[in-house]
């Protein structure tokens, strides 16, 4: 077994076990904290895929901001007190069948696809390349993102703030 395979399987285990805990934990704080290994595992996969910049952003935004925000809201609402309430609805068997079937379907279909061969040699995926891509072909998407963030920020503050 080479290093890449070892790393991949370790990270995959982290992602799957962590993800399982996220959806399965009775305790919501545990579920939220389990997001950390899951998201870190995904960040590790990005390292294996030579996507350094995406890794950094994954750590910064997903682990650093989104998880913290989720944890915060759980602690502010029912996280500390809601432990006696059942956390799952009565759809468990149905959901198990639906998502299980979907995963099997995805496997069955995706593993048979003759995925296109790499078009060329691997270029250096440094932050510069991603930056140029963001600011040249995808500049419109990039600029629109800033508007989206502005709209969300303003709206979320109005909604979340306590009225005097």
């Amino acid at each position: 077994m080479n290093a890449e395979a070892l790393a991949f399987y370790a990270l995959a285990a982290m992602v799957v076990v962590g993800g399982g805990l996220v959806v399965q934990s009775r305790n919501l704080v545990h579920a939220a904290v389990s997001l950390v290994p899951t998201l870190l595992g995904v960040a590790g996969l990005y390292v294996l895929l030579h996507a350094e910049f995406v890794t950094a952003i994954q750590l910064l935004i997903y682990v650093g901001a989104i998880t913290v925000l989720i944890l915060f809201v759980i602690l502010l609402t029912e996280g500390a007190t809601g432990l006696r309430v059942p956390q799952r609805n009565e759809q468990v068997p149905l959901a198990l069948v639906v998502s299980g079937a979907l995963v099997l379907l995805l496997w069955a279909v995706l593993l048979r696809v003759p995925w296109g061969p790499p078009a060329g040699t691997l270029p250096p995926y440094n932050p510069g390349a991603v930056g140029r891509s963001l600011l040249m072909p995808y500049v419109l998407a990039f600029e629109v993102t800033s508007l989206v963030i502005l709209a969300c920020l303003v709206g979320a503050i109005v909604i979340a703030r306590r009225e005097e």
Binding site: A7, N27, V29, H30, T55, V63, L71, F72
Partner: protein
């Protein structure tokens, strides 16, 4: 494949190597560092308050921290009533590990860096946010409302100060055109026409880093009078020591990063005669880093604590707008030149 083979394979995994090397650095610098820092802090505070400070254990009290640590190790480990065992144990480790991971991207001397990441500066910002999760988890797991309140305050504070900190980092990246810490050091000194911007960014960074490390005047999370000891009030010796380790570790790491970004890192004003470039770089780097640490301690023992609303207001209403305008100005200057 035997155990040896497996170990060899594990060693080939870059992440593993990174973490192990960072741990080695951390042990030498940060674990040695906090032992020394705690003593230094007590001595400096004593000096500021015209006291003597610890002096009986070892010559001039040099071994005081060692004795304290041994005492901590001997103490009983208490688990609070109905605490969440898993999270209670994991939280301090998370905080300590986050402080450890910071050291991956700090360059000590030419060529002496655990890993020169392409995205080093971003990495630093990202890893330090792991601490927040550790603190929130620890505060909640203690099953104590003071701990929880302390943790929430701490998280709010760290998240608010991450933004101005990030803007300072981006400013440096804009000027140097790179996110790699090594190349940032190499790019210094910065061109003179950018000095005003750099100074503003440095000041913002210093304030934000102090707040990130939860130190006075930003140490609200553990405001002793209001919240007992904050998020770690329920923590007993070993785990408490891990939290302390994380706190001092991140103080040291922030100082080291400040040195890297704004004080020229390993570059000294002159070459120390008779030593190689590595020793020279190391000496200058440590000298500057500890000077920053000293400055922060000085501040801690001089200024009173801010109130929570003042604290968050300072970040959102002062530091953030200032650093945004600053970034805009610097960006324009870079483009125009």
């Amino acid at each position: 494949m035997g155990v040896g083979g497996l170990l060899a394979a594990v060693w080939q995994v870059e992440i593993v190597r990174m973490v192990v090397l960072a741990a080695v650095v951390f042990t030498f610098l940060a674990v040695g560092g906090p032992l020394f820092l705690v003593l230094a802090e007590r001595k400096i505070s004593a000096w500021i308050q015209a006291r003597v400070g610890p002096k009986h254990v070892g010559p001039h009290g040099l071994l005081q921290t060692v004795a304290d640590t041994l005492k901590l190790l001997y103490k009983e480990n208490i688990l609070p009533h109905r605490a969440d065992v898993v999270l209670f144990s994991v939280a301090p480790i998370l905080v300590a590990v986050a402080a450890l991971l910071d050291w991956v991207v700090i360059p000590f001397a030419p060529g002496w860096v655990v890993r020169d990441l392409n995205v080093g500066v971003l990495y630093f910002a990202a890893v330090s946010s792991l601490t927040v999760i550790g603190i929130l988890a620890g505060g909640w797991a203690s099953n104590n409302k003071y701990s929880l309140l302390g943790a929430l305050r701490s998280a709010a504070q760290m998240v608010s100060y991450e933004l101005p900190l990030g803007f300072s980092l981006i400013l440096v990246a804009t000027i140097t055109g790179t996110l790699s810490t090594v190349r940032i050091v190499e790019a210094q000194p910065y061109p003179a026409y950018l000095y005003p911007s750099v100074v503003v960014a440095a000041v913002v960074f210093l304030i934000a880093a102090t707040a990130e490390a939860n130190r006075i005047p930003f140490d609200l999370p553990e405001a002793e009078a209001e919240l007992v000891a904050g998020y770690f009030s329920e923590y007993t010796p070993m785990r408490f020591a891990l939290f302390q380790l994380g706190e001092y570790g991140s103080l040291l790491a922030s100082s080291a990063l400040f040195t890297t970004l704004f004080l020229g890192g390993w570059k000294g004003p002159f070459q120390i005669p008779g030593v190689g470039p590595v020793v020279d770089g190391l000496v200058w780097f440590l000298l500057k880093t500890y000077a920053v640490v000293f400055f922060l301690m000085w501040v801690r023992w001089t200024y009173p604590r801010l109130r929570i609303d003042q604290l968050l207001g300072l970040s959102w209403k002062v530091l953030l707008p200032v650093s945004m305008v600053n970034l805009l100005v610097a960006g324009l200057l870079v483009v125009v030149r």
